[in-house]
Symmetry: C2
Subunit: 469 residues, 2 copies
């Protein structure tokens, strides 16, 4: 048994929370989007939440935890959907939201601490020099930049810049290792792949340097179509129009917009599919001409309405906010993350739309993938059983549409379904005891796990494991 009273004494001077209700709260993310994860993870909780204000405090915390053999799971704002920040084996949740300073802003780049909220970061860089992050998740108003890097992939702006996996979209990360004497390491270039999207399993991020793009007063636009596929074709053509600057481009099928976009409902007809957009103000005139030529009905423009009070940002209708809005009204929904590889991504979407009808409702996000225009999808799924969900996944994959499974808490099963040797090797170096976010990297827990066998990984250290069928 770990003596947490002693730990608290060792960490004196650092903000600590051990009230069980509050600790439980800070041990959760949006895992409940998935009915499968909801069952698996609902009893997960840490023993302590430690909230360092400086890198020095992070180092002290890791040193103490290492000595006592306590698991440490880093956390930003807990806006992930796969339990990225959930402490499967208890121990310490390292809440980095207290490290929220913006340190330097230069042309094209910013240096800051990991805990700054993304919308606040953008606000500061915009005020400083008309700049903002290249892309952000739909949770920008609450998510932290460090959490995005450790647990996210792309988002609003990926239509222009691709994702975090593309070299150049993170410039530098400083991490602290989980060792007897924690070290700090600055990673750049290809080395960044060791720790980005690693859920904090192989180092605690204490400083980030990110590239910036010009900030504009983006205009929120909704374009209506009676037929979802017309909206998809319009979006694909627009994504290929290099002269029209947009930051977000997401076709969303009926009945989602009218049924679940409650604040925008007055603008949306029943049965109407919409394309959700953010358009640069100076691109509005060519954009309107383009939309007209594609017979799109512009049903909402934020630059033409009297007040945006009470109306969410367009990007808060997109990415996983689409899912959230549907779930709020109808908890029987869940969702998938689908890739429709170019160049025939539109045909693949069409095939899936025809196959599933109203059971899997279309929601696409256009983006650059390996430099090509392509779309990914976060379709809503009317959930019946786990078996049917697995079948829907299989049918997608059989049609050449890979699934990044949001119903798995491990890096591999939610991602490439194979060992990431770079991340594993780095964990051996930076976290020799395997104390950082245990249970998330299968390659560490069970090097012999067979990804092709069709069985799900079950982490033995998961407290209060639910019975698995």
């Amino acid at each position: 048994m770990i003596d947490y009273q002693k730990i608290k004494q060792d960490l004196e001077g650092i903000a600590i929370e051990d009230n069980p209700a509050l600790v439980r709260q800070k041990s959760k993310d949006f895992y409940w989007y998935s009915p499968i994860l909801k069952k698996q993870l609902e009893n997960v909780t840490a023993d302590l939440v430690v909230t360092p204000k400086t890198e020095e405090e992070v180092i002290r915390t890791l040193k103490v935890a290492y000595a006592a053999g306590i698991p440490v799971t880093p956390r930003g704002a807990g806006t992930g959907n796969y339990g990225q920040a959930m402490p499967l084996s208890g121990g310490i949740v390292l809440n980095l939201a207290g490290m929220d300073k913006v340190k330097e802003i230069h042309p094209g780049r910013v240096i800051c601490e990991p805990g700054v909220v993304i919308a606040q970061l953008d606000k500061q860089t915009k005020a400083h020099s008309g700049q903002e992050l290249r892309f952000h998740p739909s949770t920008a108003q609450t998510a932290t930049i460090g959490g995005f890097i450790a647990g996210g992939s792309g988002g609003v702006g990926s239509i222009n810049w691709g994702g975090l996996r593309d070299i150049g979209n993170i410039l530098r990360l400083r991490i602290v290792t989980m060792e007897a004497e924690p070290r700090t390491l600055d990673l750049t270039g290809w080395d960044l792949q060791k720790v980005s999207h690693a859920y904090g399993t192989n180092g605690i991020i204490t400083e980030v340097e990110m590239p910036l793009a010009p900030a504009y007063d983006w205009v929120d636009v909704l374009v209506g179509y009676d037929d979802f596929m017309d909206g998809v074709r319009f979006s694909d053509a627009l994504a290929r129009s290099s002269g029209i600057l947009v930051k977000e481009l997401a076709p969303i099928a009926a009945p989602i917009p009218h049924s679940y976009f409650t604040r925008h409902k007055p603008y949306i007809r029943e049965g109407q599919s919409v394309v959700v957009l953010m358009v640069a103000p100076h691109a509005m005139e060519p954009f309107v001409a383009f939309a007209r030529a594609h017979k799109g009905e512009i049903i909402f423009r934020s630059d033409k309405i009297e007040s945006m009070r009470g109306i969410p940002h367009a990007y808060e209708l997109a990415w996983n906010h689409t899912t959230l809005r549907a779930l709020k009204v109808d908890p029987n929904f869940t969702y998938l993350q689908v890739q429709y590889p170019a160049p025939d991504h539109v045909a693949k979407v069409n095939a899936m739309v025809r196959k599933f009808g109203d059971e899997v409702i279309g929601h696409l996000e256009f983006m650059r993938f390996d430099g090509q225009v392509q779309c990914s999808g976060l379709p809503l799924v009317r959930y019946t059983t786990k078996e049917r969900l697995e079948e829907i996944i299989r049918i997608h994959e059989d049609h050449g549409c890979p699934i990044f499974n949001p119903h798995r808490y491990t890096l591999e099963e939610g991602g490439m379904k194979q060992t990431d040797r770079v991340q594993l090797a780095f964990k051996q170096e930076t976290d020799p005891k395997g104390l950082l976010n245990p249970g998330k990297m299968i390659a560490w827990e069970n090097p012999d796990f067979d990804f092709t066998a069709g069985k799900n990984f079950l982490f033995k250290g998961l407290t209060n494991v639910m019975e698995m069928s």
Copy 2:
């Protein structure tokens, strides 16, 4: 006979030049890049050069010219290569270089007169708010923005933004019509296609509104490869790396770099092919990592040398400056403009490299075309005969590589080889007498011309026509 003394009186107060030597000078562009155009156009000259300072003076000039039936050919700085600004039937050259005011700069856009030199425009927008044009020709130091719009297509920056033909890359053009009572028209959206790249045949541009991109202190880089095709593959991979911001990306085959890039020669080995780049400063670290992974040798970086004095900008090694530098040393060169359509553009380049060897020396420009990464080429051709040049063109087209022929002075033959009905219809409306830049639009001169017959158009109004074989 036109009484030019009378015309001069009618235009009193407007700057006029009639010294034949000076008029001849302002009647030429870089048509001599082409041995074919050189023969055809070398005796072309106007009768007068008129240099208005205001739109009012443009209107007065057109009114007088219309009444007297005098052809009017607009001109920026005369940096075109196909005789775009050459007055085939004499008359007035309307030199718009005097209209060079920048009127308004806003986030993402600038409003200016057509005669402002592009580098000067960029300088002003950069000083004002860290902005610059999305793309510019390699002649930015001398070319005007109006000339670029009327006679150009794309350039440095097209890797990110595509070309002038892409809707959104020009926001508004104001033109004056050639009528008894000249009108002014403001064109936006699709209407811009009426007058962009129309060589001024259907209206005189008097105001332009262009979108802006963020300005950075771009780093000039040369990456060396022993094998040109390795440089091409590196460039293609880099163009697909959405996270590394570059503005220029041009693989150029040996022996061009060592033989003709005289100021950069100390950095280049004999037999070395190079990739010419402009990289955003904040992208240099990931760029260097990327180049290393592709076994590229970084042989020149403008941010690492002591002084750039006497060394031209990287973009002045690219686009048609590559051609110019070779021609300066060896006048037996000419060039082509080739498209290598995606997705197999690299294979197409490889096929042409193997086919022609040293007779056609590779020079590619990577860009976005319909939103896709692709390359166009401006290969150098060792010129022997007109027949062989036509044969080289045919072989390219037979291999699926369309040629935009730079050895033709008409819009159609240098472009899509078909009537542009939009531009023709607009000319009928704006220039009923056909006085604007006569001889450049075949559809106007000879509506029955058969583009499929394989014969070149010969403009009857061309003064001192050379005998054509």
